[in-house]
């Protein structure tokens, strides 16, 4: 099993590294969007797949990271590097405050609260003209010239996303990550052995928010602009769809989901009337017929093949 995932990961890294040589600029940008989406979905899955909390407000932190970078560069006049680094503690604090309240709830109350807080920040971003420029958003936020081309920015994104993925992988395998999983599987029992549920859910919320914020910051300078739509509830639906599609029970599931999502986004066109409709249909379909997502399905196949070959070997 280890070998399987190692080979798959190596192959993915080679393909991602080599990608800019083989394809047109548009496709590099598409790959860039995929990477940002993958990080966004991975951050969502810290809460959903690992802690058992379904957030409908993940775009809140994507948006906070995106706006933090934009405002630090535009209003405070900071350099890209400094603004990028500073956007992390800003999202951490925001996630800390919002998470303090949300982590008091579980199940649907949690979903409701995240949706509500998301709407609150969306209203702030779209109405507070003096700071956020309201509905117009903030334009012309360029990355530094060193990252000026599509290829260079792609490699920057790849490096950041790879680093974040490694960090998330490490977190998932740490005692902290295992504690979250035990809370997901059995809150009562976890509490009985002395785990402070609220504290761990809160910290999971902050971790999740921080990585969503990094994804948002990456998006701002990719897109050269940020608008309140990055905070809208339909944006929060994106990591939900990606994760369900790829499989929430696998670490790499959200990455697979982000790849499929970006592919369809390209063919269906994000700005067609039916984008939200399609996302809804995918959610309904996957929840009803494919609860483990594509990744879960493949995983089952791999395991079935392994069991079959073992049986075969044993018979001999």
């Amino acid at each position: 099993m280890k070998r399987w995932s190692a080979v798959a990961m190596m192959a993915a890294v080679v393909v991602l590294l080599a990608l800019p040589w083989g394809v047109r600029e548009y496709n590099i940008q598409l790959a860039n969007l995929f990477l940002i989406g993958a990080l966004f979905a991975l951050s969502f899955n810290v809460l959903f797949g690992y802690t058992g909390l379904l957030s409908f407000g993940q775009a809140t932190f994507f948006g906070v990271g995106a706006y933090a970078l934009a405002l630090l560069m535009k209003k405070a006049g900071l350099s890209f590097a400094l603004a990028f680094v500073l956007s992390v503690p800003i999202t951490a604090v925001t996630a800390g405050v919002i998470g303090f309240f949300c982590s008091r709830a579980t199940e649907f109350f949690f979903s409701v609260l995240t949706l509500a807080f998301g709407q609150l920040l969306f209203v702030v971003a779209s109405k507070w003209y003096t700071v956020t420029a309201g509905d117009d958003g903030i334009q012309s936020i360029f990355p530094p010239t060193a990252l000026g081309s599509a290829t260079r920015y792609y490699y920057f994104t790849l490096a950041v996303v790879a680093l974040c993925t490694a960090a998330l992988w490490w977190i998932a395998r740490s005692p902290f990550g295992y504690t979250l999983q035990s809370i997901r599987d059995n809150p009562q029992r976890s509490e009985a052995i002395g785990i402070n549920l609220r504290w761990y859910r809160w910290m999971a919320f902050v971790v999740s928010g921080v990585f969503a914020g990094v994804a948002g910051a990456l998006f701002t300078t990719f897109n050269w602009a940020v608008a309140p739509t990055e905070l809208e509830w339909t944006k929060s639906a994106e990591p939900v769809v990606m994760t369900l599609l790829g499989g929430p029970h696998l670490f790499g599931g959200p990455i697979i989901g982000a790849a499929i999502f970006t592919f369809f986004q390209f063919y269906l066109g994000k700005h067609t009337l039916f984008w939200a409709f399609s996302m809804g249909v995918v959610i309904l379909f996957v929840v009803r017929f494919m609860p483990g997502g594509v990744g879960g399905y493949l995983w089952q196949r791999v395991q079935a093949a392994r069991d079959a070959s073992r049986k075969h070997a044993a018979q001999r």
Binding site: R104, E107, L120, L273, A276, M279, V282, P291
Partner: protein, 292 residues
């Protein structure tokens, strides 16, 4: 602020509160019996407003066209609710998150369908004949339509209470809230009961959509706006309690109404504040069993 201005604002908050109450009733009813939180309840409200508007336009000029359109909107949305409930059936045995995701997916689908069918522009419905004027009550001039909506809300609340407290169906529903498996074992057909309850909730949402149309405007996007307010109501009131829903509807309605005076662009902020305070002080809601 003058006293009459205050009363005016209070009555307008009461009116909005009644609309929230009609929605919260359905949400609490569905949650109580099926343990499903219907995220699409706001979408049903929006569909009610749009279908009501088009029925009303189609009947334009007929006497009572507004009232017919309120009822027709309610019935059409009830039919839609039955379809949703039918699709939801395979998921009752699953985890809560699957059911939540299902209704969330419906929000996305219905939102886009409404835009596609009826476009993104706003519509408005005038107040129905007989309720277009104002009435003076003790020195305060109030729009009669507000009083009508409040009356309808109170009547619906009382009607539902009578249904639950005095009829056999009400007994069955209350028993199902307590223990639906047992109700099933005793020979009540649960699928029919679930469909009925979902239908009633959807009817209330659809009718409320059209009833509220003359108070503001109809447009895509009203689904999420209203559902967040209704969720604030059920969090403040406690998810399992009709009395809590009634009380919280009034509180949220008033907070919104007076909030507009302070922060016209973002009156929702105050709604959130109330919700957050309740969540910290009394997580189970004002009226609700603890540890939920």
């Amino acid at each position: 602020m003058t006293l009459s201005g205050f009363v005016n604002q209070f009555v307008s908050g009461l009116t909005f509160g009644m609309v929230l109450f009609l929605l919260a009733l359905g949400l609490v009813l569905i949650f109580g019996v099926m343990r499903v939180v219907n995220f699409a309840h706001g979408s049903l409200y929006m569909v009610g407003a749009f279908t009501g508007y088009f029925v009303w336009e189609w009947l334009k000029g007929m006497t009572g066209s507004f009232w017919v359109s309120v009822i027709v909107a309610g019935l059409l949305v009830a039919a839609l609710g039955l379809v949703l409930e039918y699709m939801l059936r395979p998921l009752y045995a699953r985890e809560h998150s699957d059911q939540i995701l299902f209704t969330y997916g419906c929000v996305l689908i219905i939102g886009d369908l409404v835009k596609w069918l009826w476009g993104g522009q706003y519509h408005s419905v005038p107040r129905p004949p007989g309720f277009q004027g104002r009435i003076e009550l003790g020195g305060v001039v109030l729009p009669t339509y507000y009083l009508l909506v409040i009356g309808v809300g109170v009547a619906t609340g009382l009607g539902l209470w009578l249904l639950l407290a005095r009829t056999k169906l009400g007994k069955i529903i209350r028993a199902a809230v307590a223990d639906r498996e047992m109700v099933g074992i005793l020979g009540i057909r649960l699928p029919r009961l679930f469909a009925g309850v979902f239908g009633i909730g959807a009817f209330l949402a659809g009718a409320a959509g059209m009833l509220a149309a003359p108070l503001g405007s109809i447009g895509s996007g009203m689904d999420v706006e209203i559902i967040v307010a209704v969720f604030a109501v059920v969090i403040v009131g406690g998810m399992g309690s009709f009395l809590g829903a009634a009380l919280a509807s009034l509180i949220i309605g008033e907070v919104y109404s007076f909030g507009i005076l302070v922060l016209p662009a973002a009156a929702q902020v105050f709604m959130f504040l109330v919700m957050v305070v309740v969540l910290v002080v009394r997580p189970q809601g004002l009226i609700g069993a603890p540890e939920r």
